[in-house]
């Protein structure tokens, strides 16, 4: 039982990471990761929606016929995103002004439909909830990483304007890596995003291959 949960966690965070393994959600990814703070905002908003949508899809999975599942999922997810959007706008307006842009982009995030289709529709509610949370956290980590790399090279700072997203208590996160940096525009624009994603993807492949080689070596010696 524990092994299953560990498997789901590992899948979400590393082995089957939304960005670096499934290669999903690249459109909102490139749009918002011009800074680490933006990546974090998008990641947290997506995690919330992914968790809720996995729970809902999983709890209605008995009733949904396979033939019409896709339109049903789309309707449910779009409704969920709209509800989150409206309630944030009404009751957490300050947060909405920061996250509003990201919430609209979640609707076009194919990772959410992807998880509904490939996991939540086949597994129990508890498993689906854990999967949604872990996939979301893995996505958040990837976004912050990509945003951080682009921000350091693009504008010489890290977590700039974090207090706008997380409140004044988190202003300590804001660091200037390179003082008096002139800026490297390419990294902030979408091409820089593609380059960073490509390089990080290659790095993950190298790490995975080395680990597989090491495991094979140990197996051979044993």
């Amino acid at each position: 039982m524990n092994e299953k949960y560990a498997r789901i966690t590992r899948d979400g965070l590393w082995d089957n990471n939304v960005v670096f393994a499934q290669m999903l959600a690249l459109c909102p990814l490139l749009a918002v990761t011009s800074s680490a703070t933006n990546g974090l905002g998008m990641g947290l908003a997506t995690t919330t929606v992914l968790l809720l949508s996995n729970i809902i899809i999983s709890s209605v999975r008995q009733f949904v016929s396979p033939e019409v599942r896709i339109p049903v999922y789309i309707v449910l997810i779009a409704t969920l995103v709209t509800l989150v959007d409206m309630s944030l706008n009404a009751w957490a307006h300050e947060l909405y002004k920061v996250l509003g842009l990201f919430i609209a982009l979640i609707v076009v995030n194919c990772a959410i439909l992807g998880r509904a289709e490939s996991f939540a529709s086949k597994n129990s509610v508890a498993d689906a909830a854990l999967d949604g949370l872990m996939m979301g956290l893995g996505f958040t980590a990837s976004l912050v990483l990509i945003g951080g790399v682009r921000e350091i090279f693009g504008s010489g700072t890290l977590f700039a304007n974090a207090h706008l997203l997380l409140g004044p208590a988190f202003a300590f996160l804001e660091t200037t890596i390179v003082p008096e940096y002139k800026g490297f525009l390419l990294m902030i624009l979408p091409p820089g995003g593609f380059m960073v994603v490509g390089l990080l993807l290659a790095a993950k492949r190298v790490l995975d291959q080395r680990r597989a080689a090491r495991i094979a070596l140990i197996a051979q010696e044993a």
């Binding site: 011009s34 800074s35 008995q62 009733f63 949904v64 016929s65 396979p66 033939e67 019409v68 339109p71 049903v72 309707v75 449910l76 779009a78 409704t79 709209t82 509800l83 409206m86 309630s87 706008n89 009404a90 009751w91 307006h93 002004k97 693009g154 504008s155 304007n161 706008l164 002139k182 800026g183 525009l185 902030i188 624009l189």
Partner: protein, 206 residues
């Protein structure tokens, strides 16, 4: 199982899809009504806050209700008027500049003497890291307008330094500040040509 047999039937699928659509749209319309008032109130508070940034000082009327719409150089301009004891002391309106990548929406406050009280950028799509220094959160540049009027600097100096004017441009971004300066100058010209109507003094005090 009975449910499994049902799921294969065409009529069940139709009802399921229709039911899901009905349920979600009902939920959405209910939620939309429940949040409408709160969203409107939050947006009004937002507007008031952005207006008060370019209107230092105390005024005794409800800005959002005391408005007048006048034809501007491109389209109609909605003007908010701030009064003290019935007299219009300052006006606030929006001006639009066209920068490197689309419209730059600004709001400016002008006193009854025609001096700029403040300018703020509401929305823009300028390059992050270069053109976005027009936001007060990212630079002091926008405060350079405060206290200026047509005449100080003289009309031909209402431009960025590169064009022989008095306002700074940014390293690597001239088009953005140029657009904002032009928009603000246009806003002052609008004030000059509509002064009587803006200050509500055309036909005496109402």
């Amino acid at each position: 199982m009975k449910l499994e047999e049902l799921r294969g039937k065409l009529s069940y699928q139709g009802i399921l899809l229709g039911g899901a659509a009905l349920l979600t749209s009902a939920l959405l319309s209910f939620f939309s009504q429940a949040t409408e008032a709160d969203i409107k109130a939050a947006e009004a508070a937002d507007l008031k806050q952005s207006l008060s940034q370019v209107l230092p000082g105390e005024y005794d009327n409800d800005l959002l209700k005391d408005t007048v719409t006048l034809p501007g150089s491109q389209d109609e301009v909605l003007v908010y008027r701030a009064r003290r004891a019935g007299k219009v002391e300052a006006v606030v309106y929006r001006v639009t500049g066209y920068g490197y990548s689309g419209a730059i929406l600004c709001v400016m406050g002008v006193s009854r003497e025609g001096k700029i009280l403040g300018v703020r950028v509401i929305s823009h799509k300028e390059t992050p890291g270069l053109g976005d220094k027009i936001e007060p959160a990212r630079g002091d540049w926008i405060h350079a307008f405060e206290g200026k009027y047509l005449g100080d600097p003289p009309a031909d100096k209402w431009a960025v330094k590169k064009d022989g004017g008095v306002f700074d441009q940014f390293a690597g971004a001239t088009i953005t500040p140029r657009a904002v300066v032009k928009a603000v100058k246009g806003g002052l010209e609008f004030f000059d040509s509509n002064k009587a109507k803006l200050l509500d003094e055309a036909g005496g005090v109402k």
